[in-house]
């Protein structure tokens, strides 16, 4: 499946921002599942790409001149292999056993994980866990904030994809299965629509397998990966700080079109 993507994020500030700096993880990497055919960021000034601690492609945009608007856009074309089930990795998965503030497993989460997986530590067990979390935590935009932890969202019984992913990570790690946060895009076949999305990956038998709690998908057939990390903070597409600016308005739009391909057969 070949997708053409255009993602624009526009910030408007009430006052002039004196200086700002952003960590941008808006460039998908090549991997077993996805091949980037072309990709470009359009930024107010040219920025070199580097690799972040998790191997993600990172752009650091620093602006020292006063500005009231900031537009960050990414566009490109990606080929996805929807049949690819897992991604192999040569790095040790063990660092992904550790909890962070956002993925701390409290007693409730530990109990929940134990209840649904018992002694099982295979893909089937985690699929059951994913389904159970989906049932337990309603998808309800606005019920949580970006700094809501897995335990808080779980206790509240609702959240968005970020909370679903965090809760899954907390459970999986509490079972001793390394798991990581994934940020990326989800393509919706019905509405020809794509949105920023988050899901989880767990390490099973030497590879990373996907678990999308929000959509109950264990096969990332409609997912384009941007970045991975221990939690949202490591992998989120834009993380920035500014001086001045006052109130901020943010508008994001993602457009995707499946590219028609000449019949190969």
């Amino acid at each position: 499946m070949r997708l053409t993507i255009s993602h624009e994020t526009a910030y408007h500030y009430e006052d002039q921002v004196r200086t700002s700096i952003q960590y941008l993880r808006l460039t998908p990497p090549d991997n077993e599942r996805q091949q980037v055919l072309c990709w470009a960021l359009d930024l107010p000034r040219p920025v070199r790409a580097q690799r972040d601690p998790f191997g993600n492609i990172l752009h650091v945009l620093s602006l020292e001149e006063p500005h009231a608007d900031l537009i960050i856009s990414a566009r490109g074309q990606v080929e996805i292999d929807p049949t690819c089930e897992a991604e192999h990795d040569t790095q040790s998965p063990l660092p992904f056993l550790r909890f962070t503030r956002l993925t701390e497993a409290d007693d409730a989460l530990r109990h929940f994980a134990g209840q649904h997986c018992g002694p099982r530590r295979d893909r089937g067990a985690l699929i059951d866990l994913m389904a159970a979390l989906h049932e337990r935590m309603l998808y309800r935009p606005g019920s949580t904030a970006v700094d809501t932890s897995a335990a808080q969202a779980f206790a509240g019984g609702a959240g968005v994809c970020q909370d679903h992913a965090h809760a899954f990570l907390a459970c999986s790690r509490s079972l001793g299965v390394p798991a990581r946060y994934v940020s990326g895009y989800l393509f919706d076949n019905d509405s020809q629509h794509m949105a920023s999305h988050a899901w989880a990956e767990a390490w099973l038998e030497g590879a990373w397998y996907s678990f999308d709690v929000t959509n109950q998908l264990a096969l990332p057939e409609r997912h384009l990966k941007l970045a991975v990390g221990l939690d949202y903070l490591d992998a989120c597409p834009v993380r920035g700080m500014r001086r001045g600016g006052g109130y901020e308005q943010m508008h994001a739009s993602v457009l995707v079109t499946p590219t028609l391909q000449a019949q190969q057969q």
Partner: protein
Amino acid sequence: MIRTFYDEMYAADGQLRPHYREFARWLANTPPELLAQRRREADLLFHRAGITFTLYGDEQGTERLIPFDTIPRAIPASEWRVVEKGCIQRVKALNLFLADLYHDQRILKAGIIPAEQVLANEQYQLAMQGLDLHRGLYAHISGVDLVRDGDGSYYVLEDNLRTPSGVSYMLEDRKMMMRLFPELFAAQRIAPIDHYPNLLLDTLKSASPLDDPSVVVLTPGRFNSAFFEHAFLAREMGVELVEGADLFVRDERVFMRTTDGPKAVDVIYRRLDDAFLDPLAFNPDSMLGVPGLLSAYRCGNVVLANAIGTGVADDKSIYPYVTDMIRFYLDEEPILKNVPTWQCRKPEELSHVLAHLPELVVKETQGSGGYGMLVGPASTKAEIEAFAQRIKARPAAYIAQPTLSLSTCPTFVENGIAPRHIDLRPFVLSGRETRVVPGGLTRVALREGSLVVNSSQGGGTKDTWVVED
């Protein structure tokens, strides 16, 4: 249980140890009123110099003077040479361990340390994986905490590889003694330590591949308990003292805001924990760090001393393996002993610990500053019971050690002079070579019988002498 303590000044038979001979003669000949007057003078001078220490967990945020005791802790030079060699050996091995851990992980592959214990440790920083540092050095400044057991042999209690503090007290205590009692320094050969700031600056500069790098000291600010020391060291080295807000990152380079415009910064002696260095990469709530610093660091455009991620090597859960590291990396036998340690993460060691709590010292693997520990022999039954519950809830977070005797040194107390327990923190500088200024910081537990020397727990300091014998 009867314990025998090793006293630094007097042998078990009451005989004066030879390296204290000059001091004892002087003490006997000095009128007590004069000594008392000098001690008051010292208090006044320390107050005036603003050498204070902010206590954590104190509602008023009290600034307290760290009590200074005028009876020095003396070490014979021949003995010091062994301690010095031992500290250098240890810090070399720890630096090699960090370089290995963030590259090939030979020690994990060899099965000497369980991989999960290191890699799943919160102090292991993925940001350092595969990153090459100049000279392969991670801990440029280290403090090795030493104590002496009943027979006088030195044990390493812990290594401090993150932001070890206390060196300003070492330097100020010496200045004070020389000012109050110059005659003592004329009567015998006491190794000088006043070149420490020069060595520190040299070490920091040698951490950069540049010929003449610009160096700054990064402090969390005046509310930090060690702010005095940050300002002191910056002044002594003649470099800028900055807070996070004084620095900024542009195009993966670090600059300092000055009245003459931005000035490039090459080496940052940071006295700020990893988690606060860059709010865009670590703790997002940190107001103390520099946004973008990690990107500049990973591009090799700035040196951080110490490096990020050194905490995994001084973590108390890794401590039991340091002697193995020395054998593995240096192919040498450890010169300094480790205290035998039970790891509560191991079920069989946990049950031993729980059964022997009244005799043991239990520490949190992530704790420091003497907070969150249990000293079995000094605790009530209820305290021990409560602590046992905490251990059972999170066994991996605790280690236990036998209660060491800790040597004593005569100390001025309310009613004259009495023995009090002490430890020693030599400061090890790693650059072109690995160096230690003679002695270090001696901390003293001022409460009778107390074994906790931390200044946050009522400890004081003493001048530390290496005396030519």
